[in-house]
Symmetry: C2
Subunit: 607 residues, 2 copies
């Protein structure tokens, strides 16, 4: 792929989301992305946007993109022709790959419904594909419900480490933990999620109350604050939520998935809790060691002011905001077309907005906006700018401003935000390290990234919502809130990928010592030694067979990453010693039995 | 209450469960129990059984017992008369108490439906009682679903410490963790719970699969083992389960509650995994520091052998077993009557069983049974006895046999047990410390104590179930299993009560340092200090107000048990120092700012 090819791609991608169409990724994207990988750091902005979007899929997921059929015209015959020749090459290459790997081809050709099955199976490798969820002729089909999965021990170990790190950041801020029921009265959820309400799982009416499974943790939190008449609380809540979606399981999306929310409720001084939320995001992402990240920030008041100043009629603020919100997946061309066509905005107004949404920066940007001819007389805009200035100042004192970027294209979908909004974007893997001006990557809504759906590397998002608690309070008492939700399933997936790349496994069992018998008849000694070790709070296992083979025991210790093996045989018994064997170096040393605990306690912290 | 009164109670309680009737506790029980408290260590066996049962209720719960109306006759006019005079005294005392405390009387007089509401409210004290779960005139009623509750920060802190201790024991044994979805295909649960199946929560049929919320963790575990074709695993699983019961919320029972299961699946040598489960129970209860406990053990083969040898027809084994299982709540009189009347057993056969079920002991008991005329030729009984002997031997080597007691009255309700069964009983609070022979306290079934329902101090139970996985495997491949389920909600409640008695609170926020400004204008310094502390991984909070009052800040630190306060004012700024204040001693010392971290790191571990 040469410079000219990349110029062709830039021309195509500057006016549509994907290579062959505006709406859907296809094998054209997958193959050209593969060919482009080594060129990425020097590519132009639209290609960068697209490449970041591609990078959010795993190679396996990209393999499951459908074949491209018709390639839309770009309106320029020459570019069309060049693109076609590029695609010819890609198809050729793809066919060569396919013939090498039949199973991949099979996966690629199945229908969408089968896609899901294939990927579900890949998550529990030892299970045979089953025909359907219902029993056939009384035979029980063994599977989990659609869109759900079991978590295996190795996955739980990753989850544990991620949770522990995140929780320790929350505790660093004095946050407390709460838990709410998995289901709520149906009416608690009613009217909170707009058209997504159809995704709520209802329980069967078995007599009594009408119940629904929780859809997120934010609405139950607002219900909790209102019901318990709480004036202020900073709490975290880590739990699974339920959405009767048709999830792209190929992309790690499920109907049952974790959310991890940190929120500060209470009337405090301007921007202090908001800055703390940004500090929490900064600390969590730094502690998980995920490489470079950017925390994009914007303000609903600034956006509203901007729309007003550009000439958007006030009744169109929300719909134009939700159009801006699509800049993560769509090019400006497409969003502009939506504003003008679908939403009926004047071309000139749309173009004015277009000038602003490409801006980003920090104090420099705020200075520009403060003195901008259109904005300097707009009260909303100036209020938003002032708050953002204060936010920059506080985050600087809190030393969490290095990765902050005020980004005018950040809009976030949910209506309930009333102030600062933010979103953290990861720059991982094949995505270029530097942010470019045209990096319009952004999330559709808080909901979207919470369920790990999202787009380019978005791993956290949130903002201020001052009116939600009031919706629950009988006296409309409001409690201002600001919070962040981490895309925890995505963080798990990234950690798992990272470990795999490093060819490292987290230990799912935490045993320190395996007690092995060298010869037959050692069971009593092994059990006694285990009790001795447990008494000293050293985790220890021994075989649950009376006379296991010595090598089998050593192998178990190796396979399970148990760092030390205490071995004992007839001669050790008569000498009153045991051997302590280092599993990785295979070195052994004799230790008197009465010094064993002391010896192990010295050794273990170094392993 | 004198010796004679106690003799009357013994006469009454030796033939029925409660003081005024066989079936239900009443205020007669509550008041007489209150009057009896100081006499308990020297009371006769039936009174002890009843008192242990009473002790499993909290004083608040006992207040909610209904008034007694008709007192059943004991068949002995003199005893009837004596009891009535005892009850007169109790009623008189109760009336005196009531007039002192009107609110208590109100609670006592409400209908059962209202009981539940009252107790639910008491769990979230700041909420006003609401009329019902449905909205009235479009007004949202703020409450959680029936039988569910929010967990508040202080409760979560207790949960965290209990979970951490239990998990560390599981990890000591090399157990891994798994997680399964909160709902399963309906057919997975079908036919596993007998008549309790009516308690399963079904999800609404919204198109697609028919789903149900999990009822326990054992059936999903068996499904997991079968589906993933696992040969061996020792896993733990801590999660909430769902039962559409009419729970006695007054007794801490809910429709949504935690289970905490540890199971060993796999073909191992006889009694080695079983002994390990007993060791886990021993270690968990010891680590939670709950005082004295007994682990009762029995064996299904021994029970079957016993029934056979006593002349129970084989088709009545299960129903007689389930009658024996009632000895926790009912006296032998009642159980015997059920065997003869309801189950049609010969009187002589029942009396023979009666001789055995009162036996308990260790090797001495096994020796007796081995040589017992009826049992010595019974293959089942002898096999059970041999396995129990091996179990005693292994648990002795594992140093967890001190609290073990083989108890012939332990039967456990669930049909699926195939070998060793066990149950741990706590001897707490007002319950006498020594176990008596007639202490027939026992659980109805694994299910019962898992949901913290149970009876006298039962906090864990389980056993061997070798055929459950085979029910799921298409090829009927069986994987032998043995496991234990902790009555975790009960353990929480006990810990909470213990903390309350000690007038101790667990900290729900874990902040080490509060940063306080002595005078106005300290915000920037406070934020900088917080960032400095966080950088050093010291948890630190500061006020989210620009100029909070100094005393308000100190008060916050005291109320939230934050051990150290770093204070800073104008003079400290100019001197380059801060004050470090010990919250409990209120002593302060000046520390140069550049030595602050080092100073705190020395100080904090001692606090």
């Amino acid at each position: 792929m040469n410079e000219q090819d990349i110029a062709v791609l830039e021309a195509v991608l500057s006016c549509r989301s994907y290579i062959s169409s505006s709406s859907n990724a296809s094998q054209a994207d997958a193959q050209i992305y593969g060919a482009l990988l080594d060129k990425l750091p020097n590519t132009p902005p639209s290609v960068v946007r697209w490449a970041q979007h591609m990078a959010s899929y795993s190679p396996q997921q990209r393999q499951l993109f459908p074949q491209h059929t018709n390639v839309q015209s770009c309106g320029d015959a020459k570019v069309d022709q060049q693109l076609n020749s590029l695609l010819q090459k890609a198809i050729l290459k793809q066919k060569q790959e396919s013939s090498k790997n039949i199973s991949t081809t099979t996966q690629r050709d199945v229908s969408p419904a089968k896609h899901e099955r294939v990927s579900q199976n890949s998550l529990s490798p030892s299970r045979k594909p089953s025909k359907s969820g219902s029993s056939k002729g009384g035979k029980l089909i063994l599977k989990t419900a659609k869109g759900t999965r079991d978590y295996h021990p190795a996955e739980m170990a990753v989850r544990r480490t991620v949770f522990d790190k995140i929780k320790s950041v929350f505790h660093m801020h004095g946050a407390v933990e709460i838990e709410t029921p998995v289901f709520e009265l149906k009416e608690v959820l009613t009217g909170k999620y707009g058209e997504d309400s159809k995704l709520i799982y209802d329980l069967e009416d078995q007599g009594g109350e009408l119940l629904s499974l929780r859809y997120d943790l934010t609405v139950p939190f607002a219900r909790y604050v209102a019901q318990n008449k709480i004036d202020n609380i900073s709490r975290y809540h880590i739990a699974r939520v339920y959405r009767r979606d048709n999830p792209a399981i190929t992309r790690g999306r499920y109907r049952e998935f974790y959310q991890c929310d940190f929120d500060i409720a209470g009337a405090y001084d301007l921007m202090l809790p908001d800055a703390e939320c940004l500090q929490v995001i900064h600390q969590v992402l730094a502690s998980l060691d995920l490489g470079l990240f950017t925390i994009k920030v914007n303000h609903r008041k600034l956006l509203d002011g901007l729309f007003g100043a550009c000439g958007v009629p006030i009744e169109k603020f929300r719909s134009i905001c939700s159009a801006v919100d699509k800049l993560d997946k769509s090019s400006w061309c497409e969003v502009r077309a939506e504003m003008i066509g679908e939403k009926g905005l004047d071309e000139a107004v749309a173009d004015r907005i277009g000038e602003y949404v490409k801006l980003n920066g920090k104090q420099d940007l705020l200075n520009t906006l403060k003195n901008d001819d259109r904005l300097k007389t707009n009260e909303d805009a100036q209020a938003g700018i002032e708050e953002l200035e204060l936010l920059l100042q506080y985050t600087s004192l809190l030393q969490c401003d290095a990765n902050l970027l005020i980004d005018m294209s950040l809009a976030r979908g949910l209506d309930y935000y009333t102030g600062v909004i933010y979103e953290a974007i990861l720059q991982e893997g094949q995505v270029p390290q530097q942010q470019q001006e045209s990096d319009n990557s952004k999330k559709k809504s808080k909901k979207d990234e919470e369920d790990d759906g999202g787009t380019v590397g978005s791993v956290a998002g949130g903002g201020r919502y001052d009116n939600l608690v009031g919706m629950f309070d009988p006296k409309k008492r409001t409690v201002p809130c600001v919070g962040v939700s981490f895309g925890i399933e995505r963080l798990f997936a990234i950690q798992e990928r990272k470990l795999k790349l490093q060819d490292r496994k987290l230990r799912s069992r935490l045993t320190s010592v395996y007690v092995a018998g060298v010869c037959k008849g050692m069971l009593h000694h092994r059990l006694t030694l285990c009790a001795l070790l447990h008494e000293a709070e050293i985790s220890a296992e021994t075989s649950r067979k009376i006379n296991p083979k010595f090598l089998t025991q050593l192998q178990y210790a190796e396979e399970n990453g148990i760092p030390l093996v205490v071995t004992i045989g007839d001669s050790e018994v008569s000498e009153g010693v045991v051997n302590v064997r280092n599993t990785s170096t295979r070195q052994e040393e004799k230790v008197p039995r009465d010094q064993l605990i002391q010896h192990l306690k010295q050794l273990l912290p170094q392993l």
